[in-house]
C-alpha cells in the first residue's frame, strides 16, 4: 500500500511540469499569505492617515513611542551581545561537566511564554514579596527600565544560542594560530574569532533587536505609563474600545504608527545588512598589552563570575520567579482545586490553553509543509541564483516587521474579504511570524548536506521523491524538529499580532495579560487574584517545559 504510494509519488515527482507547479505554488502561497498581507494591509488604509494629521498630540505620542521602541531595541540588542558573548564563550569552550546544565538553563527564558515572563519580572523587580522587599521599597517600578530588563531577559537566550552555535562551528585552529603568533586569549578573540563569526554576531544582534521591537504582551504588563510602539498601538485599541477615540482617529493613528514602525525597521535592517559586513574594527595598536592583563587569573575569574551573576540574577531567577506564587497557590489548596475542576474563571483559562496549543500545532504543521519547498528553493537554487537570493532576503521581512503592526496590517487586508473567520486570521498571523524561523533552519541544514550525496543517490537511480525521502529527510530530520520547536514556542508566546487580529479569541498569553491587568485594576475580572495569576503562569510554564522536554528528547537521539 505504502510502496504503491511511494511509486506513484515517484513517477509524479519525475515529471518536470509537476515539480515546477509544486515550487511555484509554494512561492505563490508565500507571497499571497505570508509576505504581502502584512505589508499591503496597512497601505490599503493609507487614506485614514488624514485623521491624525490634524492631531499633533496623537502624532507626537506616536512618534515618541516609536522612537522609544527603536532606542530600547538597539540598546537591549547591544547589551545582549555584550553579556551574551562571555556566557556563550563559557558554554562553548569550558570543560566542566556542569556546562550542559548551564546550557539547558540558558534556554529556560526562551521556553517561558513572554506574557508569563513579564508577570514574573514584575513580581521579582517591583511588587512586594519580590526582590523589592529586601530594599524596603519598590526596586524597579513599571516603566522604561523594567521594559529594558524584560527585553534583555527574553532576547538573551536567543543571542546566546546563536553565538554558541557559531562558536561550535568555528574552526579552533584559527584561534590556536593566533595564540602561537603571540596573541593573548582576549586579543585572539577580538582580532580573529569575532571577525570570523561576525555574520552570526550580526544575526544575533538582529534577532534580539527584532524580538524587542515585536514583543507586546509582556511589555504591556511591565510598561506602566511608559509607551513604546506596540504598547502605544495596544493603548489605542483599548482607548477606541472605551470610546475615548473615534473610529477615524483610531484607524488613522494605528496606520500612522504601524507604517512608521514598518518603514523604519525595514530601513534599519537594510542598513545592518549592508554595513554589517563592511564594518572592520581597527587592529588597536597597543591593545594586546592591556588585553593580556585581562586574559588571565583574577581578571578571567571575575569576568566569568560577573557573566554568571548577570545570567542568574537578571535572566534566570526573574524568569522563574512566578513559580513562587504558583507553589503558594498549590499549597492553599482551594485555588488549586478550582483550577483543576475548571470552575469559574478557570474554564476560560483551559479554553485559552487549548486554543494556544492547538493553534501552535496547526501553525507548526502548516509551516513545515509550506516551508520545505521554499527551503529547498533557497538551498538548492532551483530557479537560479538570483531568485533564490531574492526569496532568501524577503523571507526575513515578517521577522523584521513588529508583530503588532503585522497583525494590524493582516486584519486590514483580510477585512476586505468577507467570511474569513478570526481563527483563520490567527493562523495566518502566526504562520507569517514563525515561517521565517523554520525556513531559515531548514535551508541551513540543507546547505550542510554534501551535494555529492544527492548526486550519488541520483546515479544509483533515485527519483526526486525517493531522493527527498531517503537522503534529504533523514539528514535534516533534526533541523526540521528544532525548527518546529522554535515555531511552536514562538506561536505559544505570541501576543502582539494575536491582540491585533482578534478580539474574540483569547489565547493563553492574551489571557495572562488580561488577568494581570485585572490585578492592576485595569478592566477587572471577578475571581482573579495574585494566586490565580501565579498559578496560571506557573502551569503555562510547566506545560511548555514538558512539551519542550519531549521535543528535546526526540531531537537528542540523533545528535552525534
Amino acid at each position: 500500500m505504502l510502496s504503491k504510494l511511494w511509486n506513484t509519488l515517484n513517477t509524479l515527482s519525475a515529471k518536470k511540469p509537476l515539480k515546477y507547479t509544486l515550487y511555484l505554488s509554494a512561492i505563490i502561497i508565500f507571497f499571497a499569505i505570508i509576505l504581502i498581507p502584512p505589508i499591503i494591509g496597512i497601505l490599503i488604509k493609507a487614506g485614514s492617515l488624514q485623521a491624525v494629521f490634524g492631531q499633533p498630540e496623537l502624532m507626537n505620542a506616536a512618534l515618541g513611542a516609536i522612537s522609544n521602541s527603536f532606542i530600547i531595541g538597539l540598546v537591549v540588542a547591544a547589551l545582549d551581545l555584550i553579556a551574551g558573548l562571555p556566557l556563550a564563550w563559557i558554554i562553548s569552550r569550558g570543560k566542566s561537566r556542569w556546562l550542559s546544565v548551564l546550557d539547558t538553563f540558558a534556554d529556560i527564558p526562551f521556553v517561558v511564554p513572554t506574557a508569563a515572563l513579564g508577570y514574573s519580572l514584575l513580581l521579582f523587580w517591583s511588587s512586594s514579596g519580590g526582590l523589592s522587599d529586601l530594599f524596603g521599597s519598590t526596586l524597579v517600578s513599571p516603566g522604561w527600565l523594567l521594559v529594558m530588563l524584560l527585553h534583555f531577559t527574553f532576547s538573551y537566550p536567543v543571542v546566546v544560542r546563536v553565538i554558541v552555535g557559531a562558536m561550535l562551528d568555528y574552526k579552533m585552529e584559527y584561534e590556536r594560530a593566533s595564540r602561537t603568533l603571540g596573541a593573548p586569549p582576549l586579543t585572539a578573540a577580538r582580532t580573529v574569532t569575532f571577525p570570523i563569526i561576525k555574520p552570526s554576531l550580526i544575526a544575533a544582534f538582529s534577532l534580539a533587536f527584532a524580538r524587542s521591537l515585536s514583543e507586546t504582551g509582556a511589555t504591556f504588563i511591565v510598561a506602566g505609563a511608559f509607551q513604546n510602539g506596540p504598547v502605544f498601538l495596544q493603548n489605542l485599541s483599548n482607548a477606541f474600545k472605551n470610546g475615548s477615540l473615534t473610529q477615524a482617529q483610531y484607524e488613522g493613528a494605528t496606520v500612522f504608527a504601524s507604517l512608521i514602525l514598518i518603514v523604519v525597521s525595514l530601513t534599519i535592517f537594510a542598513i545592518i545588512r549592508v554595513l554589517g559586513q563592511r564594518i572592520k574594527l581597527p587592529f588597536g595598536h597597543g591593545l594586546p598589552i592591556f588585553e593580556k592583563k585581562l586574559s588571565y587569573a583574577k581578571a578571567a575569574w571575575s569576568r566569568n563570575s560577573i557573566t554568571l551573576f548577570v545570567f542568574l540574577v537578571i535572566v534566570l531567577i526573574p524568569s522563574l520567579f512566578v513559580a513562587l506564587p504558583a507553589f503558594q497557590a498549590v499549597a492553599t489548596g482551594t485555588t488549586f482545586v478550582e483550577a483543576f475542576t475548571g470552575s469559574g474563571i478557570w474554564a476560560s483559562y483551559w479554553q485559552s490553553l487549548l486554543l494556544s496549543y492547538g493553534l501552535a500545532a496547526i501553525v507548526t504543521v502548516l509551516g513545515i509543509i509550506l516551508g520545505i519547498p521554499i527551503a529547498i528553493l533557497i538551498a538548492r537554487k532551483t530557479f537560479g541564483k538570483l531568485p533564490s537570493a531574492i526569496i532568501d532576503t524577503l523571507i526575513n521581512v515578517p521577522i523584521i516587521v513588529p508583530s503588532i503592526a503585522l497583525g494590524l496590517s493582516l486584519r486590514f487586508f483580510w477585512q476586505g474579504i468577507p467570511g474569513i473567520p478570526d481563527f483563520a486570521l490567527l493562523v495566518f498571523a502566526h504562520l507569517a511570524i514563525t515561517y521565517p524561523y523554520f525556513v531559515r533552519s531548514m535551508s541551513a541544514a540543507m546547505e550542510r548536506i554534501n551535494i555529492d550525496m544527492e548526486e550519488a543517490a541520483k546515479t544509483l537511480g533515485a527519483k526526486p521523491f525517493t531522493l527527498f525521502r531517503t537522503i534529504v529527510l533523514p539528514l535534516t530530520k533534526y533541523s526540521i524538529l528544532s525548527g518546529a520547536i522554535i515555531v511552536f514556542t514562538r506561536s505559544v508566546s505570541e501576543t502582539g499580532a494575536t491582540l491585533a487580529v482578534t478580539s474574540t479569541l483569547q489565547t493563553a498569553p492574551v489571557l495572562v495579560v488580561n488577568w494581570v491587568n485585572s490585578l492592576r485594576g485595569i478592566s477587572p475580572i471577578a475571581g482573579v487574584n495574585a494566586l490565580t495569576v501565579g498559578l496560571a503562569c506557573g502551569l503555562l510554564i510547566l506545560f511548555s517545559f514538558i512539551i519542550l522536554l519531549v521535543l528535546r528528547l526526540l531531537t537528542r537521539k540523533g545528535k552525534v
Binding site: E173, A177, T180, G182, T187
Partner: protein, 367 residues
C-alpha cells in the same frame, strides 16, 4: 635558538593515554621529526610543546625555561598548521604582519620584518589576495612566513605538507629545511610519511601508541631498527617466523616453517628454543634464477612481478610456504619471470633477529 626538552610527559584523555611518559631532547638548531601512524601521539606532543594543550603530568623546557605552565603566546614558537589556518578575513600580507602587530611593534618595524620573511619564502606577489584566492603552495609559504615573522625561535610544523600535491610537496620540504637551517632555528616536524621524515630530518623519533619507540638518524633507523615495528614502518621488511635451534658465538641457527634452517646474527642474545622473527629488507637480497646451492640460501618460485619504474618488485613463494618480497633495480638487471625458480641470498648482518612479540606479529606491526 633553544634546545627543547620533554621530561616524563603524560597526556591522558579520560582513561586513554595519548602520551605515556615520554622523554626526549631535541637539540638546538636540530631538524627533528616526530614520525608515526595516525593516533600515535605525535601531534599531541607537538601541541603540548606549543602550549595549545596542557600535559597531565611531566615537564617541558624550551631553552632553560620550563614552559608547561606558560601560555602559547609567550613561548617564542612558530606553529605551522596542517590546514595552514590562515585567517580568512585578512589578506596574505596582513596574515604575515599579524605577529609583529600583536607584539606591538610599530608599523615600520612590522613592515620591515614582513618583507624580510617574504624574501625568505620567495613570495612577493599576490600579497593583497585573501587566503581563499591562493594556491596550496602559496598558502603554505604564507603560513611559514607568518610563523617566522612572529619571531619564532622554535618552528613547530604539524604535517605541513599534507595538503599539497606530490610535486609541490617534494619541492617545499627541502625549502623548509633550508630556511630552518639558515635562520638557525630548532624545527620539530610532525609527519606520518616516512619518506618525508627520512629525507629532511637530522634525527627522527618513531612513535607508536603514545610512546617513543626509537630515536635516531634516518640511517640508524633504517640500518638498525630496534623493533619489528620500526623495521616495518621505516622502509619495508620481510618477516620470517621460526625457533632458535642453536646458539654459538658467531651466529644462531633458526628453524623456519617446514624445518627450513637458516643462519642469523643474534645481537640481542635470544636463547635457544625461543620463538623469533627474522626481518630482512627487500632491497638487501640477491636473487638468481634456478636452484643454486649456496650457504644460507632461500629457495622459491616467483608468483608476481611488478614494474615500478626505478625498481622491479618480485613476490616470491618460498619452498616452505612463506611469502617473500625482493626489490631489484629495474635497468641493471635481467628480468626474471613469473613461475621461475629462484635462489635468494642476503648478507648476514642485514638480517635482524627479534623475539616473537607477545601480542603477535600482526598486532606488533599494525599501524
Amino acid at each position: 635558538m633553544p634546545e627543547v626538552r620533554i621530561v616524563n610527559v603524560t597526556k591522558k584523555y579520560g582513561n586513554l593515554y595519548a602520551l605515556d611518559n615520554v622523554s626526549l631532547t631535541i637539540q638546538d638548531q636540530e631538524y627533528f621529526s616526530l614520525l608515526g601512524p595516525s593516533g600515535c601521539g605525535k601531534t599531541t606532543l607537538l601541541r603540548l610543546i606549543a602550549g595549545l594543550i596542557e600535559p597531565t603530568s611531566g615537564e617541558i623546557y624550551i631553552g632553560d625555561r620550563r614552559v608547561d605552565k606558560v601560555p602559547p603566546e609567550d613561548r617564542d614558537i612558530g606553529f605551522v598548521f596542517q590546514t595552514f589556518a590562515l585567517f580568512p578575513h585578512m589578506t596574505a600580507w596582513s596574515n604575515v604582519l599579524y605577529g609583529p602587530k600583536v607584539k606591538n611593534y610599530d608599523a615600520k618595524q612590522s613592515e620591515t620584518i614582513g618583507h624580510e620573511v617574504l624574501e625568505l619564502v620567495k613570495l612577493n606577489e599576490r600579497l593583497n589576495a585573501y587566503p581563499s584566492e591562493l594556491s596550496g603552495g602559496m598558502m603554505q609559504r604564507i603560513a611559514v612566513a607568518r610563523a617566522l615573522a612572529a619571531g619564532a625561535k622554535t618552528l613547530l610544523l604539524d604535517e605541513p605538507l599534507g595538503q599539497l600535491d606530490a610535486k609541490v610537496r617534494n619541492e617545499i620540504r627541502y625549502e623548509i629545511r633550508r630556511m630552518a637551517k639558515d635562520l638557525k632555528l630548532t624545527a620539530i616536524h610532525v609527519t606520518h610519511d616516512q619518506a618525508e621524515a627520512m629525507s629532511i630530518s637530522d634525527r627522527i623519533a618513531v612513535m607508536k601508541k603514545g610512546k617513543v619507540v626509537q630515536i635516531g638518524t634516518p640511517q640508524e633507523l633504517y640500518m638498525h631498527p630496534n623493533s619489528l615495528f620500526v623495521a616495518h614502518f621505516i622502509g619495508e621488511s620481510n618477516f620470517l617466523e621460526g625457533y632458535i635451534t642453536e646458539v654459538n658465538d658467531a651466529y644462531s641457527e633458526i628453524e623456519l616453517r617446514q624445518g627450513l634452517r637458516i643462519k642469523a646474527l643474534n645481537p640481542r642474545d635470544i636463547k635457544k628454543e625461543e620463538r623469533v622473527v627474522l626481518a630482512i629488507r627487500p632491497e638487501t637480497c640477491e636473487m638468481k634464477r634456478g636452484h643454486i646451492k649456496a650457504e644460507n640460501a632461500l629457495f622459491g618460485q616467483v608468483d608476481k612481478t611488478t614494474f615500478e619504474g626505478t625498481i622491479v618488485r618480485y613476490e616470491i613463494r618460498l619452498d616452505n610456504g612463506d611469502r617473500f618480497v625482493i626489490n631489484r633495480p629495474s635497468l641493471t638487471e635481467q628480468w626474471i619471470n613469473v613461475g621461475d625458480e629462484v635462489t635468494i641470498t642476503y648478507p648476514l648482518d642485514k638480517a635482524h633477529l627479534f623475539p616473537y612479540p607477545e601480542a603477535g606479529l600482526t598486532e606488533e606491526i599494525s599501524v
